[in-house]
Every structure is written in C-alpha cells, then in structure tokens.
Symmetry: C2
Subunit: 141 residues, 2 copies
DNA sequence: TAGTATTGTTGGTGATACCAACGACAGCCA
DNA sequence: TGGCTGTCGTTGGTATCACCAACAATACTA
C-alpha cells in the first residue's frame, strides 16, 4: 500500500521549505564529502575568500556561525593547512585568520563543487525562476 | 566593525535556502516548544489527522521520517496519551497507530500554532508571492 | 581606574537526518 | 509444504547543524 500525502503538511510553507532545504543539504553534503570538506568548511573558506584576513568573531558573523563552531572549524582547517592564524597586533583579543595558498586553491575547487550542487538542485528551473526563488528566499531569511 | 557579507554565499540558492529554512525552524521550534510539542510530534500527529489509523511504516513515509524516529516519536506521544497503538489483526508485523481524543484536540491546537508560524515567517508576502514560493519549493523537494 | 564589553576557548545540549542489525512475521513460489 | 525474500518495529548507534553558558584575557569607556 502506498501511503497518501498529508494535506496538513503539504500546504505549509515551512514544511515545503524544510523538505527543500533537506534535499539541498543531502546533495550538498554528498558532493562536499567527496571533495573532503564539510558545510562549515566551505562557509568559512568562502568568507575568507570574499573578505580576506578577518578575525574569528567577524568570520562567524559573516558565515552565520556560532563562535564555538568557528573555533572548531578554523582549527580543523588550520590542521589541514588551508588557513593560517596569527594574533592581531592591534587587538590582543583577536585572531586574524587568512587563507593559505592551499586554502585558496581548495576554495576554487569547492566553488566548482558548489556550482554543480546548484545545477543539480535547480535542475529544470529557468533563469527567471531561479531569480524569483532567490529573491523570495532572501526575504524569508 | 561590521563585517560585510560573503558574495560567494549570498548568491548560492542552497545557502539562501538553508538560511531561510533555519529561520523558519527557529520560529517553528520556539512556538511548538511553548505548546509542548516537537517538530516530529507535529509531523506524526498531522499525518494521523489526515490519513487516520495507519501503521508506523506508512506513517514514516508520509511524515518523511526514518522508522527509528517514528518509533521514538510515537512512543513519546503514546506516553502522553495522544496516540494509541494496537497490533494489526491482519498483519502481525504492523502496529496500527491512531489519534486519541486528546490527540485530536492537541492536533487542532497545534494547527493554530502552525498557522501563526506561517503568518510570522511569511510576514510581508502577498498571497501571490506565497503561492509562487510554495510552488517553487515543491519543485525543489 | 573601575566597570563594561568583546574575543577565543571549552564543554556542553537539542533537533534533524540517517544507517545497520536484529527477531518476528507475511507472502511467494518451487 | 518449506524455504526464500522482504517488511515491520525496535535498538543502538553516527553526523551535521544550531545554540548556550562560563571563563580568562584583553580592550574600551565613563
């Protein structure tokens, strides 16, 4: 027997949103795992690539990560020599994080992975539909 | 200093999707917690309300839950006397789950909570925009 | 200078999602 | 009829994401 769908759930925007997000996350996670990175890894590397050397607190704000998770992710990236850390000479509290050469090339590689993920997740969408979706989602967040 | 946004992240549909979903989840979780329920709880109750007595395997398929999570959630709901369970007389493997009277009224109460959540999450959206969003999200999932 | 705020670290929690293995049971079919 | 296949519910995990509290060190400020 094939169970029906729940109309209560189907008509909820939050339900459709969470299901769409879960599916996108599955695709993203699978492809990133193959490339040896986690979602947090990419978020940190992407922010470093876009904003340059930056302290962890700002890193967390830009990547929407808790300070705790920034600490762990950055240390993990540092262990893989993708980022380097040094004390901010102008503020003893801050640690400046920046991409290493290996980090930059890893980021470029991951950018391609992310492009593939977008393509797979948005398969069948026209460019106009993608723009519409993106703008609606931005207003939601 | 206010950190800028990462253009790499901002233009990713999967990023906007996960941020929108995270925000919706925060609202949902906060309101459901006040009402004494979890997201899994509502998903199970909603399916039972829509499809009536049903075995756990079908419950899991309709609510998009792993069998393990169905087991735990149903047992938790049973402990709160919101659902009842009995063996399917026609199939010794299956356990039929159904709403109790208390479960039905709890579901009605939670339906109102979910309505509030939709209103809060979609604040500022026109009816047409909500329809557009919903249809785009359905195609994503 | 005393009090306040921020930074990075540490040690947690909870929700969601998913997997593997198990015994019990049903259905199929040789 | 007996064996095989598959499903069901259960148990015991794991991974990711998101979030909180407390702490020492440092910076700011009133």
């Amino acid at each position: 027997m094939i169970p029906g769908a729940s109309s209560r759930l189907e008509k909820l925007a939050t339900w459709q949103l969470s299901q769409a997000s879960a599916r996108a996350h599955r695709v993203l996670h699978e492809r990133l795992a193959k490339a040896g990175a986690s979602g947090y890894d990419y978020r940190i590397l992407a922010v470093l690539g876009d904003l340059g050397p930056i302290c962890q607190a700002d890193l967390g704000r830009a990547a929407v990560l808790d300070r705790r998770d920034v600490t762990h992710t950055v240390r993990s990236l540092q262990a893989r020599e993708l980022v380097s850390r040094r004390l901010d000479p102008r503020d003893g509290r801050q640690t400046l994080v920046e991409l290493t050469a290996a980090g930059s090339s890893t980021l470029e590689r991951l950018d391609l992975v992310l492009d593939e993920v977008q393509t797979e997740v948005l398969a069948g969408f026209t460019a106009a539909q993608r723009r519409t979706l993106l703008s609606l989602l931005k207003r939601l967040a």
